[in-house]
Each structure stands twice: as structure tokens, then as C-alpha cells.
Amino acid sequence: MPLPPFIDGDLPPGVYPVTLAEALDRFGQGSAQRRTVGARLARIYRLAASAGRLARFVVFGSFVTAKADPRDVDVVLLMEDSFDLTAAPGEVAIVFDHAAADAQLGASIFWACRSGAFGGEQAFVEYWQARREGGRRGIIEIVPGGT
């Protein structure tokens, strides 16, 4: 499903499933900063997926808008309930450490296991459309395929 055009610089409200390649094609091009943040997103996705328990991977915030130079990428993950952080190797574990992810991966990452999603899994995912200024804007969910 192709992504819709921006409206006033934002995606229209909705959670849009795209592959990593499609996400990078739409949002990881343009300025050097955008390409850099896109590369960070790719690295984070691959690390999270390598844990083997990734259920959902959602990208929100300024990276999925028309902003020319997003500072970082905002990600929220849902992991399978069987996920055990203590079994994750060093680099993968950084993804699940909010402070370390900010410092080392250039990303703001939130996560929970599926059963810990407040309001239920789908409501949890849809919440991240909320804008700090009020209202909602569209977000993307990276789904497997085409990487």
C-alpha cells in the first residue's frame, strides 16, 4: 500500500504498514541528516529483529514528516512475551536501553512486551500518533519483506 502524501507536513492519521526499504525510500532520502537518520533506523530495525522476538516496530515523530532535518528517529517496539532481555547480546541490548539508544544509536526508543501494552496492543500502537501540540498525525509500522 503506497503511503499517502503529506498534509501540512504530516502523514494523515493512520498506522501505515511499510517494509524497511519502502520507509527508507520515502523518508530516508534528501538531506544528509535525513540519510543519516535513515541509516540509524535501518540499523535499529535489524538489531531489534535479530533478537528473534520482535512483534511490532513502529516509527513516529519528525522522521516520518516532511521536516528537512529530523534530529533523531522515534521508535516504539512491542516484543513477544517470551522476550528475555538478559539473553540479548551486547549490541542488541542497546536497543532496549533508552538512554544508551539515545547516546549510541541516535534514537528515542520505547518498548514493552505485548501483554504489557496499555489499553491493548492496537490501542498502544495507535497512541503514538498523538502530537505534542495536540491532534494526531500518521505513523508507520515496519513489516517484514523487501529489505
Binding site: 532481555l85 538512554a99 528515542s108 520505547f110 518498548w111 504489557g116 496499555f118 495536540g134
Partner: protein
Amino acid sequence: MIADDQQLQVTMDRITWFQWQVVSLRRTEANPANYRAASAGFLAEIDRMQREVREYLSLHPADAVGAT
């Protein structure tokens, strides 16, 4: 930075949602390492938003006009 009372309400609502998300983790996550790591992100964002609220509320509206 919060610029007006509408953004203040949005931020306060967002703080409440994040707090309930941490409660949800606390009630459901049996793995202490998972809980500590997952909650840390939400708690850090709560702290950040509460600083924004405090900064906004520390100014009288007349002071805030020049500050923003």
C-alpha cells in the same frame, strides 16, 4: 517547550498515559530485567515532560509573553 494552555493540557494528558503504561508494565512483566529496562524509557519521558510543565507553570502569563 509548552507555549499555551492547550499544549499544557496535552502534555499533562500525555504524562498520565505514560504513567499508566508503566503501571501496565509493572502489573504484567514477570521478568525484572525486562521491567527495569522497559519502564526506564517511559519514566525518562515522564521526567522530561514534567520539567516542561514546571517550566511553563513557573511563569506568570505576563512573564510568558516575553519568554516565548
